[in-house]
Every structure is written in C-alpha cells, then in structure tokens.
Symmetry: C2
Subunit: 418 residues, 2 copies
C-alpha cells in the first residue's frame, strides 16, 4: 500500500461486557500505525451503518476515551442483528457496501461479532475480490454464548461466566440462610448452547454444594425427571439451587419457555424459563421458591469482568487490526489454549469460512451422565476463563463508563434505498 | 456483673450482603472483652434457635474465620421469618426463651433484623424484666428495604442500592447498543417501600439518561399512564429503561404482580412485576423488550458491596455488643447522618419500641411530581450510601466466602414442644 487508507470497524449481534475492549484494541492498533491507517470509521449499528453510509469518525475521540472503552460495557458504536443474504439473493447490498467503502477509501474491514458476522465478513471478502476492490476483511470473534468453533473461547463469555458463577454462589449463600426457601432458580442466557449455564456449575465443587441442578439446552428437559431431582436435592441438602438455560427444550424440540398460556390481551405468554420452572416446583412439590432472571445484567456486568476475558478481547481486537494492516484477508484471530494449568494461551488465526455458521455446543463429555451437572473436564476448560477481576475505575460510587461523541462522517453518496 | 456471662446473637428476616459484617462486629467486640463475655452463642435460624435450644458455639471459629464473615453474604447462622406473638397471646414462648437463656447463662441478647425483630427484642426485654431475669437486650438494624424509622439508613440497603444502580447503568449501556430493543425492565425488591427502586435512579443524572421510569410502591400504578410514559420515552430517547419495584400496586391496592392468570395446573400465576409489565408493553405498544428479575442476586451481591454499608454494618454490630456489655437494655444502635457532603455519620442509640413495627416509606419530596423518578433531595440522601467498593478477596476466580463449622452447643433442657 502506497498511502494510508481508512479502516472500517463495526459491532454486531448481542453486545458483551468486553466487546468495547476489542474496539479499543482495534483503534489503538490502528492509531499506532498512521503510515498504514488514516482514520478508523465505525459503522453505526454494525453493517447497517455501512449500508446507510452512517459512519462515526473515531478520530474525534481522545486517546483517553478510547482507552476507557476497555472498561465500558455495551457496544459503543451501536450493534445490530442483521444478516446479509447470500450474494446471489442480494447482490445490490454487497455492491452498496463496496461503493461506500470506495467513497471513503476503506482499505480495511474489521467486523466484531458472532457466527453470522463472520459469515458477513466472509461474503464481503469474496465479493470485494470479485469486484476487484482492494480491501482486507478480518473478523473479531465475540459472543457471550461461546458457540463459535475453532477458537478456544469467545471474548465476552469469560465475563458472563464469571458473573453467573459468582451470582450463583452468592444466591446459594442466601438460600442456605433462609430455611423456608427450598428452591432457587436462576435463568441464564444460551439459546442453543449451554456454556453459560455450565459456568454456574463452578460455584460448587461437589454434588452437595450448590448449584444442585443445571439445565442445559443440550439435554432434553423432562418435567418428571426435573421434579424428582428437585425433590431429591431438597430432601438430601435442605434446598435446591437450579441454574437453567433460557434455551432448554423438551424432547419434542419445543422450548420450555413457550408456555402455551395467554395473557389478558390474548397474546401468547412469554413465560420465561425460570417462572415456568418455579410454577412447576410449586404445583408439583409445593415448595417455597425464588427465581431470578439475569437477562442483560449478566452480559453487561463489566463491574465484575474476568481479567482473562478483557485481556483476550483486547488482544483479539489488536490482532485483527494488525492482520488487516498486514494484508491478511478472509481470516479472524482466535484464542489457542496451550495449557490448562497453568493456563496459557496465544493468538492464532482461522479462516472466516470455517467459523461462519457453525455452532459449537457443549460436548457430551462436559455434562455428567445424569444430565444435571458439569464434569471435571468441563471445569478444567471453564476455570481459567473466569480468572482475575478487571475492575473499572469508579467515581461517586458508580463505574466510570464512557459514552463517545460519535461524530458523523459527512455522506458522499445518495441515501441507500435498501 | 461479677463473672463473664454468655452472649446470644441471632439473625432474622431476609438476609443481606452485609448482615454477616454485623455478626463479625458483634463477635469481635465480645471477644475483645473476655472479662464480660464468656462465649457468643448464635441461634440457628434466629429466635427459633433459642426456642429449640439449637445454639451454635462460635468459640470454635477462628479469629480469621470470624474476620471473613465481614466479606461473606447470606446469614452465617441461618435466618428465619418468625414473629413472636404478644406476651398475652403466647406467654409460653417467652418463658421458654428465658429458660433457655438461664440454662446457658445468657446475659446479653443481640438480635439482628428488621422491624419485626426489633419488636421481638423489645418484647423479650419486657418479659425478662417482669420475670426478674437479668439480661441486656439490644437490636442490630438490618434490612435491604431500608424501611426502619429513626436510623438514617439500614445496613444492607447501601449494598443493594449500589448493585441496583450499577446494574441499571450497565443494562442501559447494553440497551442503547441494541436498536431493536426498545424497552428494558428490571424488577427489584421492596414489597412496601421504594427505596431500592429509587436507587436505580442514581444510574442517570438527567431525564434523558436511563433509567427513564421508576415505579415505586408509594405511587399508584396506572397502566394507561405507564404505557403513555413508555411510548413517550421511546419516541424521545430511542428506548426506555424501567426500574420497577416488586411491590407496585394499583389504586385499588391490588399488587400488580397478582396477574389473575392461571397456569397449566390451575394455580394462580405468580407473574412477577417485570414479566407483567413486559407483556403490557408488548400488548399495547408492540415494542421489543427484555426484562430482568434480580431477586436474591441483588441482596446477596457481596462482590460489589458498598464500602460505606459494610463499615456501618460492622460498626452497628460492634456498637450493639458494646451497648449490651455496658448494660444498655431495650435499645439499638442507629446511624445518625451529620453531613451530606462531605458525608459524615456517627452511631447513635434509639429505643427498640420506637423502631418496632414502624415502616418508613419514601417521603413524597423524594419522588418527582410525575411519580416516575427521584428528586435532587433523594439523590442527596442516596448518593453517600453507595460510596466505595468493598471487594472480597478472590481465589480461583471466585470470592472467598466462608462457611462456618457451626458446632452445636449440647442441650440442657427438654425439647421444645411449641
């Protein structure tokens, strides 16, 4: 490359406590090489920002502000759930992207997201090549669900795992204190894969310690078996702490959260897994219960982020920008584990095409035979990922999270009609 | 007093992130005065432990273990929800308590709880006097609900306030990143008083910043007004973050959480406030939403306890033991605020009878005129209470919370027939 070109960065899918740490890594790496990168333009709301030519000029943000992204949850540039169709189905979208990139001299495309986003980056890489547009397309993995293949772990997962294991531990101490409360259920994320629920298992070390039951999407939910297991744990241990994935399904494939009930307006009741399970416990066992639904709190809990996770999120952001600047195309940086204990990892590379659209589930050897807990192999995998507490700075009792100015780059093209 | 006598300590009601810090203060103060206190006996499950003569000998716990109680959530000796009836209604229970105390030479009674517990301590003080049994009865205030009168704040509240304000802030960053999610609702504790919900208001500084709406038990819930307010905030700010107290009621006094629905078993649906409000939002506005139910997670969140709260919980535990050792009877130590800014407080004393059975609600001047937010006066009150982060020590990625041995004191009396 003869002259510095601009770098396009965007965030996609559900955000995490550390996706901004990756953004920080991308931008800091780019700023360190003014010979290669002119300006980092961020897409507002992911790839949609590129389609709409809605670009944020990050050069207006100070180095201190960019550094503060490392400890700020959410997606600083706005995320999106938008999957590009295949090139055959919607060539116009891909042409539009290339037009926008050409208009703003984008030479590097760094897309931070999950499997769908890696698919988008991969398709764009192919289209750019076929249109003879010179651009390096690189992904940055991200997902609390930890469901990408190849990479040992996805940034975002370690922090939600830490939050869920600590919250389960703390709630267990509370439940143990309250003799009347027999069952406590915490609902955690994971629509298709049980990695987050598995992390709840780290709160205890043996079957007598909470959590007593973990419900994984990978194991068919059977109400009778669940009820018997709860009764057994309450009788043996005095109470039963349950970590339930939002994505658990019955053997026929229906989600447990689809309760089939109607509300006052005649709409299907959303339900939620925890309220449903709580109602089952009350109806069939008569036990007093409490339940919590962690929802966004778990993936936004930057206040108790895993130091390992923050470091990896930052490292992969940096690596992605450096790969793009080195002309690497159609790949993403991944975490390679070289040792469990002591935990050691390094940054490797994988093809976007190998990561796109492949969902990694909990392997059978990570789930105990009865389907209700994690194995030692699973602990060996999970434990290193929650190590260290990367506390944000505080002022006035609250974390000093940063909001960006988000200065808009003047448009050069007609509005997108798509 | 001629010889050292034993001290009875027990925990009552819903536990908090810092009730064990009070226990630590009581036990450390007692251990510092072997001339006055022989052994600290803890009641297993509050006053019920005394009735059943189920006493835990804390002398078997090392100084290091007792010190670790300061950073351990839950109730180390087990709590209970049990309110003694009036002396006229159940004189046998009071006589039994005095018998147990006499059998174990209990000269000091320190009861750690909310309004009901202060009532219990107060009644016991009266009965002991009438039975000519020499005992100093002192309370230690505790409640996440912050609903005791006289004391400026109840230990336990500051930490849940910190958790709720941080969680609301973090969830708001998440929601802002997700353009499709229009409404986020977090349900917090507070069956009768809105102090915890009010704390969510600290996450933002002006009406444009989340949370956009707070629903207090002190303000009658009107569905139409709520729906219009949500629509207004979404239109003006792009999304609407709601902090809802579990205890909100309609003008007719019915709890919103009583949904009137039935589940598959024909039982009344528990509902929960957040799922109900979410369904209203979907049904009447069609917005995409998320909701979280913090439940026990909020009051057990020792990992992000307020340093002010921990210090006050410990100080009141110490003060209670010292008062009892000094022969103070029928009183409890309270927090007296001497300055808002800089925040200054000291320990005062109040009569148990003045605190028992009086519920302190949010005063009208703490709620904005529209009923949906907190005023500057409320911020001045709340802000000092969430200052400082009292982090527990960690090992292996998890907080080092301590479980006691709980050695049982041999029984000297026949089993309680009550």
């Amino acid at each position: 490359m003869k002259h510095p070109r601009n770098l396009f960065y965007a965030q996609s899918g559900g955000v995490t406590a550390v996706i901004n740490a990756s953004a920080c890594g991308v931008i800091e790496a780019a700023r360190a090489r003014p010979d290669l990168v002119g300006t980092v333009y961020a897409g507002r709301n992911g790839i949609v920002g590129a389609l709409r030519e809605d670009l944020i000029d990050t050069s207006h943000e100070s180095d201190a502000t960019i550094a503060a992204l490392r400890h700020t949850p959410g997606g600083a540039f706005g995320s999106v759930r938008y999957k590009l169709k295949s090139v055959a189905e919607n060539a116009a979208e891909y042409r539009r992207l290339i037009e926008v990139f050409r208009a703003h001299d984008i030479g590097y495309f760094v897309y931070n997201g999950g499997g769908d986003s890696m698919d988008t980056a991969n398709k764009l890489a192919q289209v750019a090549a076929s249109m003879d547009y010179d651009i390096a397309c690189v992904g940055v993995p991200k997902t609390v669900d930890n469901d990408l293949p190849i990479t040992d772990v996805c940034p975002g997962f370690g922090s939600v795992a830490k939050y869920v294991s600590i919250s389960t531990l703390e709630a267990a101490f509370d439940v143990e204190s309250m003799p009347q409360t027999k069952v406590f259920i915490v609902e955690v994320m994971g629509r298709h894969a049980g990695w987050i629920a598995a992390a709840g298992g780290l709160a205890g070390n043996d079957p007598g310690e909470p959590p007593h039951l973990i419900l994984f999407p990978e194991v068919a939910y059977d109400e009778d078996r669940f009820v018997e297991a709860v009764r057994d744990r309450v009788e043996r241990f005095g109470n039963c702490v349950v970590v339930a994935s939002e994505g658990i399904r019955r053997a026929d494939g229906t989600f447990v959260a689809e309760s089939g009930q109607k509300d006052d307006f005649g709409h299907a009741q959303l339900g939620g897994v925890a309220p449903h399970l709580a109602e089952v416990v009350r109806g069939r066992l008569g036990y007093k219960f409490h339940y919590a639904v962690a929802d966004y709190l778990q993936r936004a809990a930057r206040h108790i982020a895993s130091a390992v996770d923050v470091e990896q999120a930052y490292a992969l952001g940096r690596a992605a920008a450096e790969m793009a600047m080195a002309g690497v195309h159609g790949k993403l940086p991944v975490i390679v584990r070289t040792s469990d204990e002591p935990y050691r990892w390094e940054v490797g590379q994988a093809d976007l095409s190998a990561v796109a659209n492949v969902e990694r589930h909990l392997p059978p050897e990570f789930i105990t035979e009865d389907g209700f807990h994690i194995t030692e192999a699973c602990r060996r995998y999970l434990t290193p990922l929650i190590q260290g507490e990367d506390y944000p700075p505080y002022a006035g009792g609250l974390p000093m999270y940063v909001r960006l100015q988000r200065n808009v780059v003047p448009r050069k093209l007609p509005a997108w009609a798509g």
